[in-house]
């Protein structure tokens, strides 16, 4: 009886309910603030610093100091300036690459899972073909053929090749959810397939979709860093991956220039790790049964 009373006097509106629980979840709060803090640094930082992160501005191989916060490279470039620019392009690759694969994956997965039949078999075949393509090899081939490699082209290439697992998982989930009676009930209310997918099926997968968005975002950043590291990064910009590639190419580890490679490596780890923590917290938010409050 007391539980009912509490529920009735709950001061939370229906729409704000998820936000209410999200902001009170420590995992979401910590993860999200880390990601947002680094994003903010990447967005605002370049406005106050030099536009050309590759300029030779200071003494060579200088340790971090008040003037050069993260020290300088072997050639005297400011590591902090490179770092904030690198953050910016990493977030760009993550958003764009992750976004493209998310959209393709969702469209393919929902269509296949909801329609079923022949549509499903054709889409599933395409998905499997893209899935078994050795993405890294293809990316290397494509990247090496491009004359000008920018951050955007890199993101698009990553996006086009990393959607299949999302499509497969969404398809499988949609299969089970589409057979629930509430989907039939929505049809009996005269709803169209698109509305049913968006309003009945998708909210049930919200935490999974957010998770895949987060994983695709992190995955794209990691993939881009990998391409950068083997020398197939953007030729006209600085990214966290190219920073690490440069630092390795000029033996920073042996020379003891730890401030050159630690910040980009740490940033990549922090971004991806914080995204994972956020995701675990969001699962508790979206599933009312997991809430402890």
């Amino acid at each position: 009886m007391s539980a009912e009373v509490v529920l009735q006097t709950e001061p939370v509106g229906r729409r704000n309910e998820h936000l209410y629980f999200a902001l009170r979840n420590p995992k979401v709060a910590i993860g999200l603030s880390l990601v947002l803090a680094l994003l903010l640094l990447g967005l605002i930082g370049p406005l106050f610093l030099s536009d050309s992160p590759n300029e030779y501005v200071g003494p060579k191989s200088e340790a971090p100091s008040g003037e050069y916060w993260f020290g300088t490279t072997y050639f005297g470039q400011d590591v902090f300036t490179q770092f904030v620019h690198g953050l910016r392009s990493s977030y760009l690759v993550g958003t764009l690459g992750g976004g493209i694969s998310f959209v393709i994956g969702l469209a393919v997965g929902f269509t296949a899972g909801y329609r079923g039949g022949l549509v499903d078999e054709v889409l599933n075949m395409i998905t499997n073909v893209v899935l078994v393509l050795p993405a890294l090899a293809v990316l290397i081939v494509i990247s090496s053929y491009l004359e000008v490699r920018g951050v955007v082209t890199q993101a698009v290439i990553i996006g086009i090749f990393s959607w299949p697992w999302v499509a497969r998982a969404v398809r499988a989930q949609t299969f089970t959810l589409a057979n629930r009676d509430y989907v039939d009930l929505a049809r009996l209310t005269g709803k169209r397939s698109g509305q049913i997918i968006v309003r009945e099926i998708m909210p049930n997968m919200a935490s999974y979709l957010l998770m895949s968005m987060i994983l695709l975002f992190g995955g794209a950043i990691l993939f881009a860093a990998m391409l950068d590291f083997i020398g197939l990064g953007p030729a006209n910009a600085v990214s966290l991956g190219t920073m690490m590639q440069q630092s390795m190419a000029w033996s920073s580890l042996h020379l003891g220039l730890w401030w050159w490679f630690v910040p980009p490596g740490l940033a990549i780890t922090l971004i991806v790790g914080a995204l994972y923590i956020t995701n675990v917290g969001l699962d508790e938010v979206f599933n009312p049964k997991l809430r402890e409050m």
Partner: protein, 295 residues
């Protein structure tokens, strides 16, 4: 009012739809206003498929479904939406009929969105409370709750209330009480009886003969996708002519009989044959009492 004429349903199964599975074979039934028609049969007899076809949740392979003389199969979205104003359904599992992450009263809200977008909120709330009282639910104790906070009986009654918002003529009730406990069952059953008195036609799909006898005037017994016997409940239950009907009746557990006292040996039945062929023809053995030919 609602009429099924020689309805067939077959599904394509297997890789690229290479095989066919026939679920319903040549079924013709009709429901009049103010009548509860029971469709009884074992699992896989095609009774749920019939409900789904009436609700247009699955297509009809062959045959027609008529509502007030008008063919309602395979029409566009707008016509289908209009059809659902007159024909509604309630399903077996109350917990699966509600989207678990939304509050249960959202089922009323979606009806308003689709059909009564111009009705003012205050008036709509009054209407919802009205139908809830009509199904003997206290609006204060069911509104604003999540499905897992309500009982199966409350959820099923809310679904019936939802259908009543639409001024329907036919209600398809697919095993609606099989997942309720015994004490709530009778309440929901009696509710169906009240709907019948209001002039609704109810297609009551069940595997439980005693329920069919309790609530309906006419019963259709199905096996392997085809009708084996149909007629008024009085005639079918006192004088079952088809061996399958006799087996079904003998298998109903009775309050004053122990399992150990039961000596009935089930009659031997025909095996499931080629489902693509026409089923055994029905012959009228008594007024309004039809039985399929059997060996």
């Amino acid at each position: 009012m609602l009429e099924l004429k020689h309805v067939w349903k077959s599904y394509r199964v297997g890789a690229l739809g290479s095989k066919r599975l026939t679920a319903v074979r040549d079924v013709s039934i009709d429901i009049a206003p103010g009548e509860v028609l029971s469709v009884v049969g074992e699992s896989g007899s095609g009774k749920t498929t019939i409900g789904k076809m009436v609700l247009q949740l699955t297509s009809v392979t062959k045959g027609q479904i008529l509502l007030d003389g008008e063919d309602v199969t395979a029409r566009g979205h707008a016509a289908r939406k209009a059809y659902y104003r007159r024909v509604q359904g309630v399903f077996q599992d109350p917990f699966s009929s509600y989207n678990p992450i939304f509050k249960a009263d959202r089922i009323f809200e979606t009806v308003r969105e689709s059909y009564f977008a111009d009705v003012k909120r205050a008036e709509w709330t009054a209407r919802v409370e009205d139908v809830l009282q009509g199904v003997r639910l206290d609006p204060g104790s069911v509104l604003g709750k999540y499905p897992h906070q309500l009982s199966g009986g409350q959820l099923q009654r809310m679904l019936i209330a939802r259908a009543l918002l639409l001024d329907i003529k036919v209600l398809v009730a697919d095993e609606i009480i099989s997942m309720l406990d015994a004490s709530t069952r009778i309440d929901v059953l009696n509710l169906l009886g009240e709907l019948k008195e209001r002039g609704l036609g109810v297609l009551f799909i069940t595997h439980d003969l005693s329920l069919a006898n309790y609530i309906s005037e006419r019963v259709v017994i199905m096996r392997h996708g085809a009708v084996v016997e149909s007629g008024t409940t009085g005639k079918v239950f006192t004088d079952p002519r088809h061996p399958y009907s006799r087996n079904l009746l003998a298998s109903v557990p009775q309050l004053h009989r122990k399992w150990s006292d039961s000596e009935a040996v089930p009659e031997k039945l025909e095996a499931d044959g080629d489902r693509d062929l026409d089923p055994a023809p029905l012959t009228e053995v008594d007024e309004g009492h039809w039985v399929a030919a059997h060996p």
